[in-house]
């Protein structure tokens, strides 16, 4: 019955729409086409540019390096996206990351001192850090949802609290003392192919000096891909995710539809904090050290990735996929500039500029479409 009924009104509607101004219709088509894709187009153009600009950019190894150094931004951008979709912001992610990097190392150190096997110590230490790492998010969420503190203030205060606690734990120096296993995992790869064609998983084969082994996919990239994939699914396909979009779209609609808005907001900030702590653990394994400001400079990148990916700061829009495109634009820029010998400060300027362009583009596309 539905199929019998629907074509007629649809045809009538289309007839009306195409009767309008031809030029306007064409402009609309142009905007509609580029509206969703300009981020991707920009990424491709940027990559092509650096392939010509810097020697050795266009190879598998660069791609892996790019992803390897990108993981923290991928995780923090995903964290930030959840909050931004609700119309909030989480300024604390960078320092939660630093806090978690220190906490994980301190716990693992203690566990090993207690005589635990390094592997088990790493596992328990990481799990414990994730649990502790949710706490800042729960506090943020409670402040925002139950006490009506503006997200900017709540998370900005949390930034300070995490920074301070981190420095207290380590007395202003670095946290160190991870077992070698941690760096093996953090800097290791999923697959190694020796020149003979012999492939090994996780374990780098022993070869003669000067013989290069093909390394495929850093472990932390695999972990990050899986985690980001899971959270992409949660945001796009779960009831929680739907509620997050509804809250960002219309708080009033969400409330009247009986959505437990306060609980959902709490969940969103906890999610953000969880992902930031995971970033902290990854950082610890990557650099075999932890420090308070480990993620300080990543906040701009994370928010920029989300916004470049087309999410509105007013909430209600944005996807993990497009946020990852935004993050890749920054990662390509970062590595491309490094490889072409440009000072890294240029990156900050360029990210800022791209961010502004992204916002203007999005506004323009939305008006057209």
């Amino acid at each position: 019955m539905r199929h019998a009924n629907s074509p007629a009104p649809r045809a009538a509607y289309d007839g009306k729409a195409s009767g309008g101004n031809d030029l306007a219709a064409r402009g609309k088509g142009f905007a509609a086409f580029f509206g969703g894709r300009w981020v991707l187009i920009f990424l491709v153009l940027e990559t092509v540019y650096f392939c010509f600009r810097s020697e050795g950019f266009a190879n598998l190894n660069s791609l892996q390096i790019l992803l390897f150094y990108g993981v923290l931004v991928f995780l923090l951008a995903t964290a930030e996206l959840f909050v931004i979709v609700t119309g909030g912001i989480d300024l604390s992610v960078g320092y939660v990351l630093g806090f978690a990097s220190i906490v994980s190392i301190k716990i693992i150190e203690k566990l090993i001192a207690m005589g635990l096997d390094p592997g088990i110590a790493l596992l328990i230490g990481a799990a414990a850090t994730l649990v502790i790492g949710i706490l800042p998010g729960l506090v943020n969420g409670a402040l925002v949802a139950y006490l009506n503190v503006p997200p900017f203030i709540a998370t900005f205060s949390m930034l300070g609290v995490c920074h301070g606690i981190s420095e207290l734990i380590i007395n202003g120096v670095y946290a160190m003392g991870l077992p070698k296993l941690a760096s093996d995992i953090g800097s290791g790869h999923l697959l190694y192919i020796a020149p003979g064609g012999a492939a090994t998983l996780f374990q780098k084969p022993v070869v003669e000096r000067g013989v290069s082994v093909l390394e495929i996919v850093p472990n932390i990239v695999v972990v990050t891909a899986i985690v980001v994939g899971i959270f992409a699914f949660v945001l796009a396909r779960s009831r929680f995710g739907r509620h997050v979009y509804a809250i960002g779209g219309s708080m009033d609609a969400a409330l009247r539809a009986g959505i437990p808005v306060k609980r959902r907001i709490l969940g969103v900030y906890a999610t953000s904090s969880f992902l930031a702590s995971l970033g902290g653990i990854v950082y610890a394994f990557m650099y075999v050290s932890g420090k308070a400001d480990a993620g300080a400079s990543l906040l701009l990148d994370a928010i920029a990735a989300v916004v470049i990916g087309g999410a509105s700061m007013f909430g209600g829009s944005g996807t993990v996929g497009r946020t990852m495109l935004g993050a890749l634009i920054i990662a390509v820029l970062d590595l491309g500039l490094r490889m072409s010998g440009t000072p890294t400060f240029d990156k900050y300027i360029l990210v800022g500029v791209i961010l502004i362009i992204a916002v203007i583009m999005e506004r323009y596309m939305q008006e057209k479409a």
Binding site: M1, R10, R237, R242, H243, A246, S250, A254, G258
Partner: protein
């Protein structure tokens, strides 16, 4: 009594002000009742009591002849009383199906374990209820933001109907609409009546009232000053009731 919804002696005071003063009204199934009155006459307060936003100081509400305990909007919804506010309370960034099922999403099992949103079936159900109400929306995959005011109204109404509204309260349903869209919404009200739904319309537009309402109730300063059968009255008489010039001779 064959009333679907009945209020008996509903009274609500805000401090020294009696916003609603012993109002008794009845609504039958398939009937549209217009509640009229000047600003501050108490019609909004009355509606908010019925939809559970305010608790009355005195009086009872009956649904289908049985005493209904309505102390929150959720209680009202459970009784089948749905309210369409002027702002519609739709999530503009979501599609039609998602809005109709907002807060009550349909899930399906994916790969045997994961519960995922079943957008396909939500859209199909949305289409069914839209068809039932003879509402045409070009694509259910589009977000509410892309729909016209009348289409949004229709989606909000469809949501109530899908969730078994017996009584639909509409607050200024045509206020923000163009002429063609107003007509569509009024047609929709007729369709709803045909399906046995009781409708309470709050409106300033005399035209709407005479177009679709069967009865009208006029409030002034919290008091129900008159009830009329629409086809037995005139706009002049109604205006007289609203501003208070006609009652002097009739009621005293």
């Amino acid at each position: 009594m064959d009333y679907l919804l009945e209020t008996r002696n509903i009274t609500k005071r805000f401090g020294g002000l009696t916003a609603v003063d012993h109002v008794s009204l009845g609504l039958r199934a398939g009937e549209a009742l217009a509640v009229l009155g000047d600003n501050g006459a108490g019609k909004s307060t009355l509606i908010k009591i019925i939809s559970g936003v305010h608790k009355p100081d005195e009086g009872e509400i009956y649904m289908g002849g049985k005493l209904a305990r309505i102390e929150s909007p959720m209680d009202a919804l459970a009784e089948g009383i749905e309210t369409i506010y002027q702002d519609l309370a739709l999530a503009e960034n979501l599609d039609v199906g998602a809005n109709i099922f907002l807060g009550r999403e349909r899930m399906r099992r994916s790969l045997g374990i994961l519960k995922v949103l079943d957008d396909q079936s939500m859209r199909e159900e949305a289409q069914k209820v839209l068809d039932r109400l003879d509402i045409h929306i070009p694509s259910l995959k589009k977000t509410i933001r892309t729909l016209s005011g009348g289409q949004r109204q229709a989606v909000a109404i469809s949501r109530s109907i899908y969730w078994d509204a017996k009584v639909l309260i509409m607050d200024e349903p045509t206020a923000a609409l163009g002429v063609a869209e107003q007509k569509k919404v009024l047609n929709l009200v007729r369709t709803l009546k045909d399906q046995g739904i009781g409708i309470i319309i709050i409106s300033h537009q005399m035209y709407d009232v005479f177009e679709v309402a069967d009865r009208l109730a006029v409030m002034r300063r919290g008091i129900l000053v008159g009830e009329r059968i629409v086809k037995d009255t005139t706009a002049d008489e109604v205006v007289g009731l609203i501003v208070g010039s006609e009652t002097v001779g009739k009621e005293r």
